[in-house]
């Protein structure tokens, strides 16, 4: 009964999730390599957007540091890829990003609103330039070669990271900490005064979301075979998750997943079909969505499902 008193979102039954995952796991068995590689890009964006939304969704702290966490994962693979087995390096990539996010969290989560956004973006850029400088001055390189991994292995690894991120997102959304994060987004001062350890909760959630970004970075590095700071810490990795999450809707984990998947697919279709007008079309679609669907695609689904009543 208490469930009816909450704003908690209803989730699809477990069976449907399981079925969808089995379906996705079977894709490399029949699909063309091109399709699997396309799915890799889509999955990468889905993971980035979903993990971004784990923290930024409920708390409304807009982080532009995703590129930093992703890039740390990329560099972890570039540096340690030949020395350790693949799963271990991916774990390292996530762990390093987690630690960086803890550190950044303690520094930046005191800031609110615009200051937080600018600071996360600035820190991300700072890390990019720091690594560029370190590479140029100490290792004498600009870029690095990365171990190659078969595209279907990349696909399965991304699928596993996606699954873990999704489970984490659901677990947080259903727990009391999810409710507390929402409270922080609603009125942080009030949350603090009813006994919520706001700083610790924000920092740990921020770091958890960074873990998945780092892991995704580590596996994606293998697909590029050559990386440099401009590729690994591309600011687009910070901006895209925000746009994709807005596109899909931030209310629950389905929004970011849906938003990222369609957005990435759309980008691919537009670049291949309309190479000259793709940016123009892309921009127009984005503006239309923001103007007419303020709560994203998810809002559209909700409106449709409410109509018959």
């Amino acid at each position: 009964m208490a469930r009816d008193l909450t704003t908690a979102k209803k989730f699809l039954p477990l069976g449907i999730h399981l079925f969808l995952f089995l379906l996705m796991a079977a894709v490399p068995l029949w699909a063309q390599p091109y399709f699997v590689i396309l799915l890799n890009t889509i999955l990468m964006y889905v993971i980035l957007t979903l993990s971004w939304a784990i923290f930024s969704g409920p708390t409304r702290y807009i982080s532009l540091a995703s590129a930093a966490f992703f890039g740390i994962g990329v560099y972890t693979m570039a540096i340690l890829g030949q020395r350790f087995p693949l799963p271990l390096v991916i774990g390292f990539g996530g762990a390093f990003s987690f630690i960086l996010a803890l550190f950044m969290g303690f520094l930046t989560l005191r800031l609110k609103g615009m200051y937080f956004i600018i600071f996360t973006f600035g820190t991300s850029e700072l890390i990019r330039h720091l690594i560029l400088w370190l590479e140029a001055n100490f290792t004498g390189t600009v870029g690095r070669w990365v171990v190659m991994v078969d595209y279907s292995v990349v696909y399965y690894v991304l699928l596993v990271i996606f699954l873990l991120a999704l489970l984490t997102a659901f677990a947080i959304a259903r727990s009391k900490f999810g409710l507390a994060l929402k409270g922080i987004g609603e009125y942080e001062e009030a949350a603090l005064h009813i006994g919520i350890n706001v700083t610790t909760l924000k920092t740990i959630t921020f770091a958890t979301s960074a873990f998945f970004m780092g892991a995704a970075g580590a596996i994606m590095a293998t697909r590029w075979s050559y990386i440099d700071p401009a590729i690994a810490f591309n600011p687009l990795f910070s901006f895209m998750p925000v746009l994709m999450a807005i596109f899909g809707g931030i209310g629950n984990p389905y929004g970011p997943v849906l938003g990222a998947a369609l957005f990435a697919l759309l980008e691919e279709v537009l670049t291949t079909r309309f190479p000259y007008y793709y940016m123009l079309l892309f921009g127009m679609i984005l503006i239309a969505v923001i103007l007419f669907l303020p709560s994203g695609l998810l809002g559209l689904v909700k409106r449709k499902s409410k109509q018959p009543e």
Partner: protein, 239 residues
Amino acid sequence: MQLLLGKGITKQFGGLTALYNIDFHINEGEIVGLIGPNGAGKTTLFNILSGAYPLSAGTTWFKGENISRLKPNEICRRGIARTFQLIKLFGNMTVYENVLLASLFGASESVSAEEAGRHALEWLDFVGISAAAAAPAADLTLANQKRLEVARGLATRPELMLLDELMAGLNPAEVAEAMKLVTRIRDRGITIFMIEHVMKAIMDISDRIIVLHFGTKIAEGTPKEIAAHPKVIEVYLGV
């Protein structure tokens, strides 16, 4: 027994001294009123007690423990709850969720989800807004939003409740209801320290009143003593 004790409480904002060298105490089971003209430092004192502001000088003790350096969440878990002069609710969350969150996080030891839920509903019932449990908090009337803030504070299981202008903006009937609510909270064994501008309310229900003026304590005593205090009359009436 002294529940809360403050000695030499001083707060400066840059060059401005908002509170200067205030000594006071609250006994267990009392209703203590805090009055004073606008800008006297009443809310600043509450912000210090609840941990929102650090002290410039002085010390506060709660049940014998020095709480001067604790953060608001730590102070809440030790048993001091508060409401705000300008309501600070989780507007897009339901009334029930507002109180549930306090029940889940405000207690000194962790509670199960079921127990927290039951506890939240009890306090909603206590303040008389359980019928609105499923509504978004922002949709309530001002009087009910104030009740919700009280319920949220109570759900953290406090021994001391700081009420900041609970009655401001309420009509006479609502003020009477609010006064009844305050005494009912005290009857539950919760001590009350309240800022109030509605003089009738504060005079009727306080056991003791503390008067602040320009950041210093100018008087303290029973409502009768305060009403006859020459300094208080001077401050309020300017004669």
